[in-house]
Amino acid sequence: MRKGLHPLVMITLVAAVTLFGRVLPTWTLSLATIAASNALIALGIVVLARTGNVSFGQGLFFAAGGYGVALIANAWGLTDAVAQVIVGAACGGLLGLVIGPLIARYSGIFFGMLTLALSMVFYGALVKSTALGGSDGFNVGRPTLFGMSFTDPREADFMLYAVSVIVTGFAGIAATILFRSEFGLASLAVRENNLRVEYLGLSANRIISINFLIAAIFAGASGAFALMAQRHIDPQFAYWTTSGEFVFVAVLAGNQSVAAVFVASMALELVRSFSNLYLPNTWQLVLGVFLLGVILFLPRGIGSLWIRDRRKRRLSATAALTAERGAAP
């Protein structure tokens, strides 16, 4: 892991990407905003996936963040973009704090299915709640930033782009530091064998719960971004295909590189909007073929395109492990 970038270099990178938004054409700005916000939630899935658990219900926290922000914005007139992101993250986080410890007992497919069930319960409740607009949802106003309001659409787009890139960038830096920390390595150990982790005196449940909480906070903040970008919210936020797409990004990226999550998210948005534009009736088909292609030809995700040496080291580690297993019984 020593080969990774220094945090200062990463901060410079985030600043450069933010300023780059000044020269980008307007249509790419909103695309990049969506990509950055999807990357944030997918990053949470990658964090959680390092413990071997994949959540198919991140839409739950995504929707919780979105609805929380929308309700507060309409009731109290909170329009500040940064405050909205914090509120969204807090809503997701609070829910994650409640659900995490309950769900940490499960693993594999059952973990995924239970998260999916919880998010569908939430979806069902949202569809039926007339107070929240039922299946149509409701609208919220344009966000502001530190008291400035943006009436020029280009400026408003750039503001959202800048905030989402900066927040997602810092989440990425935090995730990189986390991955290199003792806790991050213990999370990897949980995936390999949670019983051994317990024997070492660590609590596997606790590790999973904390990672789950981080994923929930990221998802809540991402919900706030999606709300600000669309200025509308509906129960679709919690539907299973929404959650499915976030897992899609996380798997496309692979779990070796944080940067890969952003690249994967952007690639997916580009494939989607271009096939939407040129093949409006078959864009899902294109998306499906693209997904199959990546899984087939880049088995360790898009990140494996530039992280080759680590892959080789991993392969030799696996070989050693296999040899050990063969010799053991």
């Binding site: 069930a117 319960v121 798997v251």
Partner: protein, 298 residues
């Protein structure tokens, strides 16, 4: 009294076709260890093929009973061909990968099939109601039912029993069970695991498509059909315990009854009733009602 009987009968009718769908899902999971998201697409595919077959037969002026038989035969043929083709041509390339990756592969297949059905049959609703009058109307304990609905219950019981019998009481079934329990050992005993995989997957597709065909006369076929069905059948197999035939039966009856009860008692709860049951079952039995014992490597 009649009110409860209505709920129970409605629930069993729901459960009958849901059981056939869930049976396919649980079989594929049991043998290939794949949680198949595309399963709902195979259900939709079966429904569309059935509608086409019924319409073609009706256009020739043949009686609806011929249409019913033609619909089942065409679905069986096309579905098993599609299943074999998909398993041999696509899934085969991804074996040995992480479960989540395989799940995403089937998600990609789901996306592709969604557009393929739209390309073939369009986006407008399609109907195939002719066989629905086939069995007339029946009176049951003072309640009037469409005969077709009631016939679905024994049909699904027969299908379920056939699968259970096939797995537990025949040589082929024993081989399949051997592959489920220990694949490496089966290979070394001379079992052609690839062939077992292909046949099990084709059977799974066939069951989903069969359920689609059986419900086709009752519903309108339109886009979105597959994602509703997949989420229901997921709930069923997870409640029952993945890979278990008995579990699929109990899960289907639970979900069918819950849906019927909420339709009659509190319609606004219909959508999340099922997930509530699923979450409740998993809280107390983390691996479903009928969990299969497995050895764990420490």
């Amino acid at each position: 009294m009649n009110f409860f009987l209505t709920i129970i009968l409605d629930g069993l009718i729901q459960a009958s076709w849901l059981f056939i769908v869930a049976l396919g899902l649980t079989l594929v999971f049991g043998v290939l260890k794949i949680l198949n998201i595309a399963h709902g697409s195979f259900y939709a595919l079966g429904a569309y093929i059935a509608a086409t077959a019924v319409t073609v037969v009706a256009a020739r002026g043949l009686p609806p009973s011929v249409g019913f038989v033609a619909m089942l035969l065409s679905v069986a043929l096309i579905a098993s061909a599609v299943g074999l083709l998909l398993e041999r041509g696509l899934l085969k390339m991804f074996y040995g990968r992480d479960e989540v990756v395989l799940l995403l592969v089937t998600y990609a297949v789901f996306l592709i099939l969604e557009d393929v059905t739209k390309l073939i049959w369009g986006v407008n609703p399609i109907y195939a109601t002719q066989p629905y009058e086939l069995f007339g109307n029946l009176e049951f304990a003072g309640l009037y039912y469409v005969g077709y609905d009631l016939v679905l219950i024994p049909i699904s019981a027969v299908v379920g029993f056939a699968i259970w019998f096939g797995l537990n009481r025949t040589v082929i079934g024993k081989i399949v069970l051997a592959v489920i329990h220990n694949e490496e050992m089966s290979v070394s005993m001379g079992v052609r695991v690839n062939r077992v995989y292909a046949i099990a997957f084709a059977f799974g597709v066939l069951l989903a498509a069969l359920a689609g065909a059986l419900t086709a006369p009752k519903i309108s076929m339109q886009p979105g059909l597959s994602s509703d069905v997949i989420i229901l059948s997921f709930a069923i197999v997870v409640i029952g315990g993945l890979g278990s035939v008995e579990g699929a039966a109990v899960g289907a009856i639970l979900v069918g009854l819950a849906r019927a009860a909420s339709v009659h008692l509190m319609p606004q709860a219909e959508l999340f009733m099922i997930y509530l049951i699923m979450a409740a079952v998993l809280m107390f039995r983390p691996e479903g009602l009928f969990k299969r014992e497995t050895a764990r490597r420490i």
